[in-house]
Symmetry: C2
């Protein structure tokens, strides 16, 4: 049997929407997602889960109420659960997310930026 690799660049070529994570794989009850982001997201938190950000291309700041972290390609950060944060990307940035299945991108915040969940590419 031939098994198929999941190619990140090929998956990124399949969508252009910003702030709209796409699922590329599942591991137990977790999902691996890709997102293209640009501009300022909304302040939000996830009460029930940490959230892993890994930068594939570009630069992303994650702002916190008491500081921020500036991430470039090949850098990672885990936002602890319950911690208010706001991702900000001046230019388009490509990121990988790992989080439990069912997590909504805007967490506790009601927003026009809330994306449909569980969209596979």
């Amino acid at each position: 049997m031939n098994y198929i690799p999941i190619n990140i660049n090929e998956k990124f070529s399949k969508f252009d929407n910003h702030w709209s994570p796409r699922v590329i794989a599942e591991m137990n009850n977790y999902q691996i997602k890709l997102a293209k982001v640009q501009g300022e997201f909304v302040w939000h938190d996830h009460q029930d889960t940490d959230e892993m950000f890994f930068i594939i291309d570009g630069n992303l700041d994650i702002e916190f109420r008491d500081g921020k972290v500036s991430l470039g390609a090949g850098e990672m950060f885990v936002v602890p659960k319950g911690t208010e944060h706001r991702p900000v990307a001046q230019d388009e940035c490509h990121i990988m997310l790992v989080e439990p299945k069912g997590v909504v991108n805007t967490g506790n915040a009601e927003s026009a930026l809330s994306a449909e969940n569980d969209i596979w590419i």
Copy 2:
């Protein structure tokens, strides 16, 4: 407060051992690990968990009893729980793993390649 990015290349520069995963981050009860691998690993499975492989640099084959998947940089594969597999890298390959805290690299197989668990860098 300044938060510190986790830089993958900087972390890879800190160890040389093959088949000895190092923890770089935790997310809930999961760990993100880096490993340098070369040669043939042992056949094994993980009865309780899927295992995510993401190739950072180089090439890795994951052999199964009924086939294999060949992965290059920027490619990912999730090995389903209970599935016998054997990673093989002709040349040194740098990989990222995501799996629950406590998973032993050799799974069900007793081997000289069983690595100490939970080593942070």
